[in-house]
C-alpha cells in the first residue's frame, strides 16, 4: 500500500520534530499551568472583524483561528455556515482576509481554519507563503485527513505553517497515534460525532477523546466542536489542555453584539478556565 502511495506522490512526510512557533507558544502557556483557550473568528464578516479579533485577544484568548469563508463548509453547522455566507456576500476572499490580517496586531498566535480547495486552487506553496506573510503560523483544513495531507504538508512544513490535524472519536486506537504524530501546533480533538455548533451539554465523547489523546501525546490537546459556554469549557479542560470556541462566539457576532459582546463572552470563558 505504501509503495503505491509513493507512486501516486501521496507519501505523508514526517512532521518536523521541533515544535513550531505556534505550538511552542501554546506549550509554554500550558506548562505554566494555564488552561488554553483558542477562539474562532470568521474573517471578513462585517467591517469590524479586525476589532473582534483584537477584542477576543485582549479578553484572554491564547490563540485565534481565523476562518477563511468557503462556499461549502461541510464540517460546519448552521452558525458558522451563516457567518461564512454573510462574509462571502460581503466580498470576503482568501486575499481580502489575509490582506486585512496583515494589519491586525493581535498579540497572540494566529491560525487559519478553512477548506482544502482554497489552498489547492491557489497552489500549496503560494497559499502557505501567503499565510506566513500575513502573520499566520498554523492551518486547520478539516476536509484534508491524514491520507491526503502529504502534498500540502510538503509545502506547509518548510514555509513555517503548522498543520493542525483533527482527531475524531471514530478513530480506532491504531489510527490516533499516526494522526497525533502528523499534527503540529496542537491536536484538535473533535468532541462529538457531528459538525460545529452549540450543544446544551458537553458530550461525554469529548472527555473520552481528550483522555485517549492525553494518554499518547504531550502535544497540547484542545477539544473543539460542541464546546458551547464557560462551564463546558471548564469541564472539558479538566481532562484536555484547553478548548476551541467557535459557534458560541460567532452566534454573538452574527447577532450584532460586536467586538464588545465578543470580548465579554471570551472574558467569561477565560475566567471559568482560570478558576478551574
Amino acid at each position: 500500500m505504501s509503495a503505491s502511495l509513493a507512486d501516486e506522490g501521496l507519501v505523508i512526510p514526517d512532521a518536523p520534530t521541533e515544535p513550531g512557533e505556534f505550538e511552542h507558544s501554546l506549550r509554554s502557556l500550558r506548562d505554566s499551568g494555564r488552561k488554553l483557550l483558542v477562539a474562532y473568528v470568521t474573517g471578513g464578516l462585517h467591517d469590524e472583524w479586525p476589532d473582534v479579533v483584537r477584542a477576543v485577544a485582549d479578553a484572554g484568548a491564547d490563540a485565534i483561528e481565523i476562518g477563511i469563508p468557503f462556499s461549502d463548509p461541510v464540517m460546519d453547522g448552521p452558525i458558522i455556515q451563516e457567518a461564512s455566507e454573510l462574509a462571502l456576500r460581503d466580498g470576503a476572499s482568501p486575499v481580502t482576509v489575509l490582506d486585512t490580517l496583515r494589519t491586525i496586531d493581535a498579540g497572540v498566535p494566529l491560525a487559519v481554519m478553512t477548506y482544502y480547495n482554497l489552498a489547492f486552487h491557489m497552489g500549496h506553496e503560494r497559499f502557505a507563503s501567503s499565510l506566513y506573510e500575513a502573520g499566520v503560523r498554523a492551518a486547520i483544513l478539516p476536509d484534508l485527513p491524514l491520507e491526503e495531507v502529504g502534498p500540502w504538508a510538503r509545502a506547509a512544513d518548510p514555509a513555517g505553517i503548522e498543520t493542525v490535524m483533527l482527531a475524531a472519536p471514530t478513530a480506532p486506537d491504531e489510527r490516533l497515534p499516526r494522526v497525533v504524530a502528523r499534527s503540529r501546533g496542537f491536536v484538535y480533538a473533535v468532541g462529538l460525532l457531528g459538525v460545529t455548533g452549540e450543544r446544551d451539554a458537553l458530550a461525554a465523547s469529548s472527555l473520552v477523546i481528550a483522555r485517549r489523546l492525553k494518554a499518547i501525546t504531550d502535544k497540547p490537546v484542545l477539544v473543539g466542536v460542541g464546546v458551547s459556554n464557560a462551564q463546558q469549557a471548564a469541564e472539558v479542560s479538566q481532562v484536555a489542555d484547553g478548548c476551541v470556541i467557535g459557534s458560541a462566539l460567532m452566534r454573538r457576532v452574527v447577532a450584532g453584539e460586536g467586538p464588545a459582546g465578543a470580548g465579554a463572552f471570551i472574558a467569561e470563558v477565560r475566567a471559568a478556565l482560570d478558576a478551574s
Partner: protein, 385 residues
C-alpha cells in the same frame, strides 16, 4: 481498455481520493472493505441480481427509434432505464447500497437528491428492506419536483429541505454529509452518483455496470457491427453515463457525455476538491464553488464524478454541452415521434444528437434513456404554457 479499478488511494489518474472530515475516514475505510468483500461474494451478487430482475424489472430493453431516426438521419437506439421500477437507472445503485448497508449492520439510510429520482429510489429501497430513510433536497428543487417529494413521503422517508447556498443538489450533498458525520455509527450514506469520497465513485459505477453489460449483449444481437458508433448519456455526477460507458470502453465506440451548459464541470471547470473528491469543478478565481444553473434539477451540479474527469483528460470520452432551450426541443421531439416522454436529464443527450445530426449522419447512436419524464411534466407545462 475496460474501466479499471481506482488506485490504492481511490484515484482514477489524478482524480478522486478521499477528502473527508477525519470523523468519516474510518467509515469510508469500512465501506470500502465491506464492498470489496460483498462484490467478491457470489451470494451477495446473486441476491442483488434477483432483486434487479424480480423487483426492478431488469433487463431493460433497447428500443430502436424508427420515426426519430428517419427524421434525424441518425440511427438512434434507446437503452430504456426509464422502464425500471421507480422510473430511472438510480434503482440499480440504490438496491446495491441498501443491500450492502444491511450486510454492514446499518439501520438507517441518508441520501441527497436533485430531481428526486435518487431520493425516491433510496426511499423505495429503505421501504423494501425495512430501514429508516432521510433524504436531503434543495429547497428550490422541492418546489420544482413537488411530486417526487410526495412520493418519498408516501414511501415512508423523511424529506428535509437544504436551505443553504444555492438550495439545490450541491447543498443537499453538504447536508447529507453533515448528517452522516453525526450519525455514522448506525447510518449508511447512500450517495446517488459516481462522486464523493473513495469508494463511492467506484462502487456506484460497479452497481451501474449492469447497464453497460446488458447493452453490449443487446447490441451484439441487434447490430450488424455488434457495436454502436457512438454511446451517449447525460452527465451531472455521471452515474448513468459511466454505467453505459462501462460496456463499451474497450470497443471502438465513441463515448460522449452531455452536460448542461449551466453546469458543465468538465467543459468549463478546472480541477478542484469538494464533496470528498478531486475532480473538474466550476469555481471562481479563489476556488469558491460556483452555483450551477440548469433546467434539470438532476444535472444542476457544479462538479462531476472523478472518473469522467479522468476519461476526459486521457481522451477516451468527450463531453459536449447543450442549452436549456435545446433540451426543451428534444423533450418534445421524442415525445412526439416515439411516444416516449423522457426525463429532462436524458433529453440533454438527445439534444446533442439533434444538434450534431449532420456530423452523425448514417451513424448508430446508443443513448441511455436514464429516466422517464413524468416528474418533469408539471414543470414543462409551465414552460410550454
Amino acid at each position: 481498455m475496460s474501466l479499471s479499478e481506482p488506485s490504492a488511494s481511490g484515484r482514477f489518474g489524478e482524480f478522486g481520493g478521499r477528502y473527508v472530515p477525519e470523523t468519516l475516514v474510518p467509515a469510508c475505510q469500512e465501506l470500502e472493505a465491506a464492498f470489496r468483500d460483498a462484490w467478491a461474494d457470489q451470494t451477495f451478487r446473486d441476491e442483488l441480481d434477483a432483486l434487479l430482475a424480480d423487483y426492478a424489472g431488469r433487463p431493460s430493453p433497447i428500443t430502436e427509434c424508427h420515426r426519430l431516426s428517419e427524421e434525424l438521419g441518425v440511427r438512434v437506439l434507446l437503452k430504456r432505464e426509464d422502464l425500471n421500477h421507480t422510473g430511472s437507472h438510480k434503482i440499480n445503485n440504490v438496491l446495491g447500497q441498501a443491500l450492502l448497508a444491511k450486510r454492514m449492520g446499518k439501520t438507517r439510510l441518508v441520501a441527497e437528491t436533485g430531481a428526486g429520482q435518487h431520493g425516491v429510489a433510496s426511499a423505495t429501497a429503505a421501504a423494501l428492506m425495512g430501514m429508516e430513510c432521510k433524504v436531503f433536497m434543495g429547497e428550490v428543487d422541492m418546489e420544482r419536483q413537488a411530486l417526487n417529494v410526495f412520493r418519498m413521503k408516501l414511501l415512508g422517508a423523511e424529506v428535509v429541505p437544504a436551505m443553504s447556498g444555492s438550495r439545490t443538489l450541491k447543498d443537499a450533498v453538504n447536508e447529507a454529509m453533515r448528517d452522516w458525520v453525526a450519525t455514522v455509527e448506525n447510518t449508511h450514506y447512500c450517495l446517488g452518483s459516481v462522486m464523493g469520497p473513495h469508494p463511492y465513485p467506484w462502487m456506484v459505477r460497479e452497481f451501474h455496470t449492469v447497464i453497460g453489460k446488458e447493452s453490449r449483449e443487446q447490441c451484439a444481437k441487434l447490430l450488424e457491427n455488434e457495436i454502436p458508433d457512438v454511446v451517449t448519456a447525460c452527465v451531472g455526477g455521471g452515474s448513468n453515463a459511466i454505467g453505459i460507458f462501462s460496456g463499451f470502453a474497450d470497443t471502438t465506440a465513441e463515448l460522449v457525455g452531455v452536460e448542461p451548459a449551466g453546469g458543465a464541470a468538465v467543459g468549463r471547470g478546472v480541477p478542484g476538491v469538494v464533496h470528498g473528491m478531486k475532480s473538474y469543478l466550476m469555481q471562481d478565481e479563489f476556488g469558491q464553488v460556483q452555483e450551477a444553473h440548469s433546467i434539470s434539477a438532476g444535472l444542476d451540479y457544479p462538479g462531476v464524478g472523478p472518473e469522467h474527469s479522468h476519461l476526459s483528460s486521457i481522451g477516451r470520452a468527450r463531453y459536449e454541452q447543450v442549452t436549456d432551450a435545446e433540451v426543451i426541443e428534444a423533450f418534445q421531439l421524442l415525445s412526439r415521434t416515439e411516444g416516449i416522454i423522457p426525463a429532462l436529464e436524458p433529453a440533454h443527450a438527445l439534444a446533442w444528437v439533434i444538434r450534431d445530426r449532420a456530423k452523425l449522419a448514417g451513424k448508430t447512436v446508443l443513448l441511455n434513456m436514464s429516466g422517464r419524464g413524468d416528474k418533469d411534466v408539471a414543470q414543462m407545462m409551465e414552460i410550454l404554457g
